[in-house]
Every structure is written in structure tokens, then in C-alpha cells.
Amino acid sequence: MGEVRLMKGNEALAEAAIRAGVDAYFGYPITPQSEVIEYLSREATKRTGMLVLQAESEIGAINMIYGAAGCGKKAMSTSSSPGISLMQEGLSYIASAELPCLVANINRGGPGLGTIQPAQGDYFQAVKGGGHGDYRLLVLAPYNVQEMADFVKLGFELAFKYRNPVMILADGALGQMMEKVELPPQEPRVHIEYPWATTGKPKDGPRRVITSLHIEPEKMEEINLRLQAKYKKMEEEEVRYQAKNLEDAEYIFTAFGLVSRIALKAMDLGRQKGYKIGWIRPITLFPFPKKIFAEVSEKVKGILDVEMNSGQMVEDVKLAVCGNTRVEFYGRMGGVIPTPDEILAYFEKMFIKGE
């Protein structure tokens, strides 16, 4: 067993970045995730030589990542909703130029300056592209502090495997709360020469150019087709989810991130009352675990999707079940976290009393 500590999600993510041998962190303070840059400023450089740079803005930060990632380095940032909005331009360029990087969004309530309390209102932004053009981020949704740490290494593995930006979509509570976390071992920082990376023109080969500009429509379409093929491959190979009690389930509760824990508790309470409820938690939000929803939709009476937003992931659930079963939504917004009792009451109102 690795070293066990009681840590905030933000700190666990930062510590995991140091231990994953990340080369550079560029960021700008914003509540509720400033602990990441504070922790790294304190710990990272002296331990691994990792670069930690407070940028002039999130726009600056994401473009520094572009430059560092273009050199084949492991570069990352973290921010919260308004800051992530500022990064959308850069993420679109990074996706198009096919560079690897990791960005975590510790989602707070919006729109606008909103609130600093936890929310999931950035699901669409994270999962459907966010910036301009046809592109996707690979999106991981942790549900506890352990996964806040674990998804850093996984995120970089996926980012380099696909040469695509990866986003960890968490929320303010996961960032601020402390839980038990088992830390991974320290890995060394290693420099790998990638053929695509700009590290100085090779003496025996052509120069490398990292760009997202392709004026000729045919060429740009070709780039788009390549990106789409990559996203298709992600959909085939990278879907991750967790499920419980599907065997005898007549109903399904589904939610991502922190809310999935609350939905799990609601399922337990429901089972105590005799309702046969199962539970599905998407871990990758893109690629979305369509298949499992399609499968269960053939046999359950209904699905209740719970989110801390006005109903965003529920659209993907509906697309996946394709009208095969009834899908209802329960959500809270603005930083309010739903309770297990609330969820169960809504379930009874929609599915049981109506029967």
C-alpha cells in the first residue's frame, strides 16, 4: 500500500502531478482551486524541478501549455469555470494542432461570476467541445479525492496516447474536501524526443511545424476527418464507467462526479424501501458510456439522472437510450448540492406514485 494521507482534492491533484513527473504547470488563481498552484509553488520545483509559473491570465496559461506541449513536455493547468471559459480558445488550438495536455476544471456555479460553490454546469462546455470548431476533449469525472489524484497520471497517458487535451471535470466540493488518499509512487521526469515536437530542427531531417492553420478546404477537411477518427477510436477504447445492482434493476439512478455518490446513497435508501434500483456512474464523460445505457434501457422501467445543473448529461443519456425507456431529470443549481432524500422523493414522485 502506498502512502496514505488526508488531503484536499486540490492538494491530492497537485501532489499526484509532482509524482507523475509532470514537467510544467501554468495557472492563474481562482477559487475554489487555488490550492493547486499554491501547493505546487511550495513543493514541486524543489522536489522534481517541475516548472510552476503563475501566468498573467488563464489565456496566458493555456498558451504557455501550447508552447510547452509543442516541445513534447507534460504540461498542465487547473482552473475553475470562468477561467476555463478563457482557456477555450487555446484548447481549440491545442486540439487542432494535436498536442497533449491536461486541464482540470474545478467547476463552480455559474453563469457569469456566479458562486464559488460546487456545480456541474460546465458539462456541455467540457464534453461538447467548448471552443470553436469540431473537436473533443477526453473528459474524466472523478467522484472522490482518490480519483482526483489517480486521474492525473491516467489523464497524461491518454493525452499522449491520442495527442489530445484531456480534461478532469470535478467540482468545488471535490477540490475543497479532504478524504483519505493513497498516493502513487514518485516517477522521474523524463524527456522523450517525439518526432512531432519542436525542439530544434534535426540535422538530418525536416523542420517540425505545429499549426492549426490549413487554408485549403480539402486539407482542413482531411485534418477534421483525422480528428473525428481519433474521437471514434476513443469511443471504442476509452469508455469507463462504474455500475451497481444492474442485475435485478427496474430503475437506474445515474449521475457523475460528486453527485454520483449522493445518487448511490439514494439508491441504497430506495432499496431499503424495496425499490429495485441500479446505479451507473459515467467516469469518462467523453467518450460517453452509451452502450451500457442502451443495454439497460431494454429492461428497466426508467432512468433518473441527477446533476448539479439544469440537465446536461441527461441529453447524452437520452441519446444513448434512444427512446427505449423513460428518462427523468432531477437537478440543483447555483452551488446547491442535492441530498439523497430529495433524490429518492423525486424518484417516488415521478416513477412510483405515477404507476
Binding site: L6, T31, P32, I116, Q176, M178, K180, P340
Partner: protein
């Protein structure tokens, strides 16, 4: 078993540390724990609190609004959290600077002159340990030995010489806390 508590007081009184020591103690006993601080502008103006949940099973939400036990280290916390105790739950507070005492009839109320005890101990910084001792006496959420381990894990090595003082403060709170019956007006 799940125990949902909140520790509340002025910033600098060490309320966040109370939750962390309890959290570490729970981890050493193989329990699940979540610790959630107040953050952002809520902290400005002096009050701070942390919700600490200890459980034998996976904890769903780290943010809740009703508690099994409230520990209040100052008057604003007494005023804010009295109504947040579940019926039948516990409310523990320091009487030293209290002008308005809690009045609810449907909860168990306990108090102790924690501030006075720290004066006797010649170190007002251990107020949080006195109150944590009182908390453990009432709730028995973890073993005292686990608290000692939690204290060791929380305190940087250079402060380990202060462990005996913290233990003394904790035991004074543990042994001093008494039940309080609100007087019906």
C-alpha cells in the same frame, strides 16, 4: 455507523485542525472520512467551520446542513448552528465568552469553560484541543489513542514537543464537559 459533525469558531482558533485530527484518527481506524471547510467570502469576517463526517461506509455528500453534533467555539457559531443540530443530536459550546446560551429543548446541550481552562494551561492556542476532548467524550466516534496518532500526523515534526500539552488540554476538555439544561423562560 455515520457521524456528521461541524466545528465552528473564529479563524485562528484552530477549528479546521479539529476536523483534520478527527479525520486522521478515523483513517487510522480504517473508517471513511470527509472534511469540508467553509471557503471563499464566507471565511471573511472571521468565522470558519469544517464539516467532518466519519463513517464505516462510503460517504455520499461532504456538504450537509443538519448535524449529529455541533461544536461551537464562539458566540456567532452558537447563533448560527444551534438550529442545525438534528433533533436528538448534540450541541457542545464554550461558556467563557458566551452571552446567549442555546435554548432548544429537543437536543442534548453540553458546555464547558474551555477558554478558562486554556488560561490555566497558560496557552490559549489549545482551545481547539479542549473542545475536541469534549466532543470525543460526548460522541465516542473514535478511540482516544487514535486522536493521539492523528495529532502526531497533523503536527509538523518540529512541534511534536507540544504534543503533551495538547494531550493535557484534550483530557481536560474530555473530563470537564457537562450537560446543560436550558432554562425555560
Amino acid at each position: 455507523m455515520t457521524h456528521e459533525s461541524v466545528f465552528s469558531g473564529f479563524g485562528g482558533q484552530g477549528v479546521l485542525t479539529m476536523g483534520m485530527i478527527l479525520g486522521y484518527a478515523a483513517i487510522f481506524e480504517g473508517k471513511e472520512v470527509t472534511w469540508m471547510p467553509s471557503y471563499g467570502p464566507e471565511m471573511r469576517g472571521g468565522t470558519a467551520n469544517c464539516i467532518t463526517i466519519v463513517s464505516d461506509e462510503m460517504i455520499s455528500s461532504p456538504i450537509i446542513s443538519k448535524f449529529d453534533t455541533v461544536v461551537a467555539l464562539n458566540q456567532p457559531s452558537i447563533d448560527k448552528f444551534e438550529k442545525a443540530v438534528k433533533p436528538g443530536g448534540n450541541f457542545i459550546y464554550d461558556t467563557t465568552t458566551t452571552l446567549r446560551h442555546p435554548t432548544r429543548q429537543d437536543i442534548n446541550i453540553y458546555n464547558l469553560p474551555a477558554g478558562d481552562i486554556t488560561v490555566e494551561l497558560k496557552n490559549t492556542k489549545v482551545l481547539n484541543m479542549v473542545m475536541l476532548g469534549a466532543f470525543l467524550k460526548i460522541t465516542n466516534v473514535v478511540k482516544i489513542e487514535s486522536i493521539w496518532k492523528g495529532l502526531e500526523a497533523m503536527l509538523p515534526e518540529r512541534y511534536h514537543k507540544l504534543i503533551p500539552l495538547n494531550q493535557e488540554a484534550f483530557m481536560r476538555g474530555y473530563n470537564t464537559v457537562t450537560a446543560y439544561k436550558p432554562v425555560l423562560v
